[in-house]
Amino acid sequence: MRADISPRAKVALYGVMCVLLIPFVFPTWWMVTSSIKPISDIFAFPPQLVPQSYDWTTYSKVFELQPFVRQYWNSAYIAAVVTIGTMIISSMAGYAFARIRFPYANAIFMIVLLGLLIPSEVTIVPLFQMFLKAGMVNTHWPLILVPIFGAPSVFATFVMRQFFVTLPAELEEAARVDGLGRFKIFTRIALPLAKPALASVAIFTFLHSWNLFLEPIVFLSSAEMFTLPQALTQYTDAYGGPMWNIQLAAATLTALPVLIVFIIAQKQFVEGLAHTGLKG
């Protein structure tokens, strides 16, 4: 089919695609270039698409003004724990809902799914009070426990259940004849076959945790405990105005791991997101 497109149409097609690309690429370009401009150049008119002068000190200031390494570590380990925890819980719950016959399984699954309909803004105040009583405010526990047992895990359970429902029953029966019990069937047969679904769960859970903003600003109060999205808001001058170039340098560093992973595993990303029915 492609061979049928005339060269002229091809040029036009590429032109249209380049124009459509602008809204996607421009913000990233602006973030990266502005992070190395002096602050006056960011607001220069006409805008400088390519920096005229470079100020690399913004990157060192990112680390001077905030405990940025610590905050980077906070975000990374919280996202890792949340991702692994969600994968464990959602795969087991999804398998149970899909494969184990127990009374009212479908009704219970529907009730679990209802959790997706409640916006996190509605539950954040009661959650805050709960964690306050438990002495967990200004710790990372809320940022780990809420996603693992909350809406993101419900969605992950849904994805895993839908995958396990499609797994041929004969495979499990063969495993039963081969001598495996329920748990080993899960770990040795079902789980290895669920890799594509698990990968998509891992991707969106990691992104969700990495980008979490509302919960950190509610639960955390000291800079040492901050996660990256929250830390970005802290690069302000004495009057509370944002220090744009430093903030954008920190934003670039925050986006970097996601960008690198995306570039390396672009195919898996797209397939994974397609698998979940989520948009990128």
Binding site: E170, E173, A174, A175, R176, V177, D178, L180, K184, P192
Partner: protein
């Protein structure tokens, strides 16, 4: 290797009864085929023997012990599934050795058994491949390899050839039979294909609606079906049935009078069903007292034989002849049934009358 005894085995799903008390004695080393139309309960019966379905009533005995409440893994059986059910993420060798691994066999023992099974089934060069890299016939062989590697007491096959094309099915049919002759393991094989049943079984169990219709050697079932259902199910093309009355002159049908075999428990004037297999018609050159006229509807030359669809009064019947027939639709030929191969059944089809 072991005997398998089913005593009054029943299965219900709530109020719905699917298997109504099956009694069956399978001798050590026997190859028994369960055959019947879709929904007759044959797969359910096999799955109950495997332990994949609970047994609602009755007793299942394998190798001298009652196994009703044992898990599949404790029954010492191996099963080949319709879809083969090979683990997609494991190589052929791992698939075959998987059950041994879970029964605590040493690595050396697993390797040796897998090598032995692969040798028997011609899989030695495929051991490092994944199921997706194999053809249908090769997958089928791996599924059998997985079953034999453990040297179980009983092999269970659940329609294992139905996913293969016609040619491969014939080849694999031979291989399974040859494997059984080599290993002599008790085998229970489920199929809906009566040709498979006829060619492979030591004994066939014909099931219908969750009940056993007849149990017997393939040729016994072919020669002396106990009722109209078995008569119609065994044999291809299937037996012709004609309704009519038993009279002094013979069997009176709408198409004429047919010769009768020796009868038991019948009365003159009794309505009955006359069964004759397509291959048991003979062509007559001239009309005679033993022949009846039939109008040709369709002629299908098969090469070694000719299949003719004929109209016999109001009833359409099929005949298979060794001769080549140069007739045309609408022409009348004279055919006579072989008296020794006639089957007569009661009107409801439940009882054999000769």
């Amino acid at each position: 290797m072991a005997d398998v005894t089913l005593s009054d085995i029943r299965k219900s799903y709530g109020a719905v009864k699917t298997v109504h008390g099956v009694d069956l004695d399978i001798k050590d080393g026997e190859f028994v085929v369960l055959v019947g139309p879709s929904g007759c309960g044959k797969s359910t019966l096999l799955r109950m023997i495997a332990g994949l379905e609970t047994i609602t009533g009755g007793t299942l005995n394998i190798g001298g012990s009652v196994v009703n409440d044992l898990d599949p893994k404790d029954r010492d059986i191996a099963m080949v599934f319709q879809s083969y059910a090979l683990y997609p993420h494991m190589t052929v060798a791992t698939n075959m050795g998987f059950s041994l691994e879970h029964r605590g066999a040493s690595k050396a023992e697993i390797a040796e058994r897998v090598k032995w099974a692969a040798g028997i089934l011609g899989l030695t060069s495929l051991l490092d491949r994944y199921p997706r890299q194999l053809s249908g016939g090769q997958r089928q062989r791996v599924a059998m390899g997985r079953a034999i590697v453990r040297n179980p007491q009983v092999f269970l096959f659940d329609e294992p050839l139905s996913n293969l094309d016609a040619k491969l099915r014939v080849v694999m049919r031979g291989e399974i039979k040859a494997l059984h002759q080599k290993l002599k393991t008790t085998t229970i094989y489920v199929t809906h294909d009566q040709v498979e049943a006829m060619t492979m079984a030591d004994r066939i169990v014909v099931l219908n609606g969750g009940r056993v219709e007849q149990i017997g050697a393939p040729l016994d079932l072919y020669d002396r079906p106990a009722n109209q259902f078995v008569a119609g199910f065994i044999g291809s093309p299937s037996m012709n049935f004609l309704e009519g009355k038993i009279t002094e002159a013979g069997f009176q049908t709408s198409g004429g009078v047919l010769p009768l075999p020796k009868l038991i428990n019948t009365e003159m004037g009794q309505t009955a069903v006359y069964g004759i297999r397509p291959e048991h018609f003979r062509l007559s050159d001239h009309p005679s007292h033993a022949s009846v006229p039939a109008e040709i509807v369709l002629i299908e030359p098969m090469g070694p034989e000719t299949q003719v669809t004929m109209k016999f009064g109001e009833t359409q019947v099929t005949g298979v002849f060794r001769e080549r027939i140069n007739g045309a639709p609408g022409e009348v030929i004279h055919v006579s049934p072989e008296v020794g191969s006639i089957h007569l059944f009661s009107k409801d089809g439940d009882t054999r009358l000769n």
